[in-house]
Amino acid sequence: MDWINALVQGILLGGLYALFAAGLSLIFGVMRLVNIAHGDLIVLAAFLGLTVTTATGMHPLLALIVVVPLMAALGYALQRGLLNQTLGDDILPPLLVTFGLSVILQNGLLEIYSADPQKLNAGGLETASVPVAGLSLGVLPLLTFAIAVLVIWGLQWTFYHTPLGRSFRAVSDNQDIAQLMGINRRHVFGLAMALALGVTAIAGILLGIRTSFDPSIGGGRLIFGFEAVIIGGLGNLWGTLAGGVILGVAQTIGAKIDPGWQILAGHIVFLLILAVRPNGLFPRISA
């Protein structure tokens, strides 16, 4: 029963990792940009949530209505003001600029909020659980997983059933021709980053409710998100969810064997999958 419990907890944890990964997957899909600062942006969202909840006394989940638009606006500004200048055939500029951004964000947060671990206080939601078939499942992990499924479904729907999604796919296929067809790719990239950081905001708040966080943990969150994307296969959002679940299960099972092995087990499973299936389990496009 313990093992089944670990398995189920891992699946639910995978929902959070899928949320870390969804933003990463989205911007890679639209503009082939890999954002090294992604993890730090997740942590930034968590800290913004902290400021909003302590200032207004709101429930952290309610704070989403402030933090999501804030992060989305930041995403649009960041893309138009900075990241659009780095796009091109050379992979160095986007990589190094987002790396610099990551260092600035991390130290900026350290300057403002100090290195003390913080947590978002969600009251009873943190400990509430429901009994399901002999297992006791936390309401928060269940909610996180449901939100992850909803977000990925929403992104998928946006991609394939809206004019915005059509322009995303158009610039993804061929930027120059999309531009000729009257799409302003700089604006579209800005919107994609806004959407990605909106998702990141959700991920950050849920992370902050689930565990304590401090300015230094961004790199680790980036790696989890990245592993979920690669395990699932590039460009496939449902694959990313599956990747997150596999990573989550690997970690909880690893922790069950030996608590020191939790994170390591996740990395090892990722490397094994990379060795056996270099394009991930469900590839849509080749990298």
């Binding site: 986007p94 190094l96 980036l222 790696i223 990245f226 490397l271």
Partner: protein, 341 residues
């Protein structure tokens, strides 16, 4: 060499002057223990080790297109090998440093086979995963102090040299020697046949491939060579520190972020760039270090600005302006008066 009235040269007058000045500087630096204070000696030693890390990162990113944010994997690995080999196998520290390089090369072979499956930016994050795997694995080894790390036993430290001064001098010379070795190896590698292939790949991978260059093998050679030398530098870093812990050994900020900033600001894809970048980095650190986190933010902002506005860094700017090449890699062709026989 004169062909059909054209002169083909490699070294320029500037390069000859630079080589002479370099030799004089080197002689002065070798003699530093007799004219520099203890703190300065320590500072210089650290500078040489950063210079080496930067030159190696530059060889990978600037020439082979392998942008790694996980070179701390080899810095930490080298450091831990120094501790393990001296503590458990009874190696003399200097022998252990060389052995660390060998082991670094060995372990980089399977690592490369795995992460070379990832391209571009995903390769970068893949290298970071490897560094994390190394960090978490060494944190599990209780003989090396687990998560809290361990200090180098006094007996081993004393085996390096009996007096404290002797140890400080030796570790300074080792650092200087490592920096000279790294720059020499990078320079010779780039001038070799494989280096020419590498430059071709950097300029156009598709064209290089169609000319029969084995791209995978060339990049692989660079990765393994860099891993070996980075492990040696890592061993030297922790010989200076005398204490190792997983968080310090595999720190992404200390061993990768700073190094990247040094190379980007100095000028990526040139041998001179990392040298200039290291000097700028240490000058900035001396003046701004009191600012702590703000210093890092300034460094990050400067790197972003350089990347966007002057992607070839300080040296790129100087080279374009004055047509200078201190470490000549290519050949120059100029027309000569061919009236003489």
């Amino acid at each position: 060499m004169i062909v059909n009235g054209y002169t083909v040269t490699r070294a320029t007058p500037a390069a000859r002057v630079a080589a002479m000045l370099g030799a004089i500087t080197l002689a002065l630096l070798v003699a530093a223990p007799w004219w520099a204070g203890r703190a300065d000696l320590r500072q210089l030693g650290e500078l040489f080790l950063y210079l080496s890390l930067a030159s190696l990162w530059n060889l990978m990113a600037g020439y082979a297109g392998l942008v790694s944010v996980g070179q701390q994997a080899y810095v930490g690995f080298g450091g831990y090998m120094l501790f393990a080999l001296t503590m458990f196998a009874g190696f003399q520290p200097v022998v252990a440093i060389a052995a660390a390089g060998l082991l670094g090369a060995l372990i980089s072979v399977p690592v490369a086979a795995l992460i070379f499956r990832l391209r571009g930016a995903y390769f970068a994050i893949g290298t970071w995963v490897i560094a994390e795997v190394f960090r978490l694995s060494f944190a599990q080894v209780s003989a090396l102090g687990g998560g809290s790390g361990s200090s180098l036993p006094v007996g081993i430290v004393k085996s390096l040299a009996a007096s404290r001064q002797g140890r400080e001098w030796l570790s300074y010379w080792l650092a200087l020697g490592a920096a000279v070795l790294v720059i020499l190896v990078v320079h010779l590698f780039l001038r070799s046949r494989r280096g020419l292939a590498l430059t071709a790949i950097r300029d156009n991978e598709l064209a290089a491939g169609s000319l029969g260059i084995d791209i995978w093998r060339t990049k692989f050679a660079v990765y393994v060579l860099t891993a070996a030398l980075t492990s040696i530098i890592g061993a030297l870093i922790f010989l200076q520190k005398l204490r190792i812990s997983p968080d310090a050994a595999f720190s992404v900020n200390d061993w990768t972020a700073f190094v990247i900033f040094i190379v980007v600001i100095g000028g990526i894809g040139t041998i001179e760039g990392p040298i200039i970048g290291t000097l700028i980095f240490f000058a900035l650190r001396e003046t701004l270090a009191d600012l702590g986190t703000i210093y890092l933010m300034v460094l990050g902002a400067v790197a972003i600005l350089v990347m966007l506005k002057a992607p070839r860094g300080v040296w790129g700017f100087i080279r374009d302006r004055y047509d200078l090449n201190l470490f000549p890699l290519g050949y120059r062709v100029s027309r000569t008066d061919n009236k003489e026989p």
